[in-house]
Amino acid sequence: MHRDLVSLLLRDPVAASTFGLSDWDLLVRQARRAGLLARLLTRLRQHGVAEHVPEQALLHLESALTVADRQAVAVAWEARMLRDALADTGVPIVLLKGAAYVMARLSAAQGRTFSDVDILVPEASLPEVESALMLAGWHGDRRNAYDQRYYREWMHEIPPMQHWHRGTTVDVHHGILPRTARLKPNSEKLLAAAVDLPGSPGLKVLSPVDMVLHSATHLFHNEELSMGPRDLSDLDHLLREFGESADFWQDLPDRAADLDLTRPLYYALRYAARQYATPVPPDTMAALEALSPAWPVRTIMDGIYRRMLAPHHESLEDWGTPLASLSAYVRGHWLRMPPHLLLPHLFYKAFLAERAEAAQEKEIGAERPR
């Protein structure tokens, strides 16, 4: 098994001077799978070591950054379109994740790719928001009845909506975890603490502490870990940037306890520190250790996440990987749905979804090579 060169370089950019051409070949492959190619280039440039990148590899790093930069512009535009569409409702719109990082000009936006825009609104405003979006040209995906129910009743989202002309997607959330999940963080508290975006009236982002908690929760409760390494890197950036303020490290565990999100925060800090050498103050870590799971659970979690948070590239697979992936998948769902709902859902996803999709695709027309 090879080394995780991506995490290595992100932790220690100066190591770039020791890389041979075949190292760069492997790095580009791993980083592409992890969605971290562009971020790597920004990091290397910041540390003045980009001159060590051979031109063959530089092409790919720069290409990735070109795309990421362009996507940031597109996301900012999309946020503006959303604000215009929802202005009349008076509903406060809180941008989440990538869109928030771009609009708030955080370092976590650097070299990041973006697809959908995620927003958080009060649960009671959901129908109004959905209507306003439809008036402005967004429409629900053509999903079947099962998926509609999954999204509306069990998850924390109305199904993603697509804009008929721009083709962009918006995910409207009213909570950061599904209604059916075990943990119950309080969305009202998050909304109440949200901060205005200077220069964009009508748009807000979560407070720094809440942004970190949301990122941690999203990462450790999600079944989709394909962006695991990238999401953990986002966390690393957020922690470093917000961590410069002394209050931040005191407020973080307190707020986590208040929102019942101590467990995901514990994992977030633990793995960010291990993988990206995030500077977490010893006191904070100690306080969370006291609340951490017992060692058998922790060892198993370490095993799962060590593999899932490294780039998902064949060079980093080992005997444990298929099991790690499956465990992360099941765990993700387990946390979001109680067992009596989980089994029928997984069965549907595994066996029936394909048929339903195939039937839909016949109508829509699946992608074929030209």
Partner: protein, 300 residues
Amino acid sequence: MKVAALSNTQLAHRLRSEGIWLRTGPVVTHIQTPLPEVAEAIGQSYAHHELTDPAWADFHVRVYAPFLRGHWRAQSQFSFDGYIPFKPLPRAHAFALLEWGLNWCVANHLHNHLVIHAAALERGGRAVVLPAPPGSGKSTLCAALIHRGWRLLSDELSLVRLSDGRLSALARPVNLKNTSIGIIRNFAPEAVIGRETHDTSKGTVAHLNPPPESVIRQDETAAPGWVVFPKWQAGAPAELKARSKARTLLHFADNAFNYSQLGSAGFRAAAALIDASGCYDFTYSNLDEAIAVFEQLAAT
């Protein structure tokens, strides 16, 4: 070392194990496949291409026969370093799938170029770009021209370098469909055409070898020269008509794979290409007449 230096057995063995590192213009692709018919097609279509050092590849790809639940016929799948961009195709189309996959790699990742869905040929140091929707006869015309004094840059992807506006060559096989296969066999008996695959989504498909000279000169870029939109029309005399440059720019905005990703650089590159090129619509029905018109064009 060239691909032709390996025997069929050696080539198939390498492709089954560590793979080959194949250079096509500015791109090195690491290819692996356990499928013998794909190995054979690679050996034929890429005979004159160079095999390079395994230390570096721009793209790592595989074509293989996956086991898929619910599919009783043999399939082939294209994988880009573990990522699968296309649905599988029937096994018989595996080489065509590889070719499409190689196009996909370039179109989605080579952002130091504006990548336009068009053929590109070179004559006297200048490039003619031939955009055309499928079924317009572009590939037949292209295949004919490269046997009448024009150098093949690419059959599917025109690569416009962002740094200087010049066009880069890939010098890869030309995709021929249905009747054009027979037409080109007649038109250019020296052309090397591979095995025909039937019943693809486009009918019968075969791959024409890039002429050896186009491979030898694959590192020679070309300056912009002309943009010609060909359209085969029964009975039409071969005729060039000046075309709106503004509308041509809109066409490129729609038909360059990475136009959106490149932002203003994409707009500038497309505009510069058009500024420096004569833009025409071209109708024809007779290949010889078409060739003659292009001869005149080259002389301007």
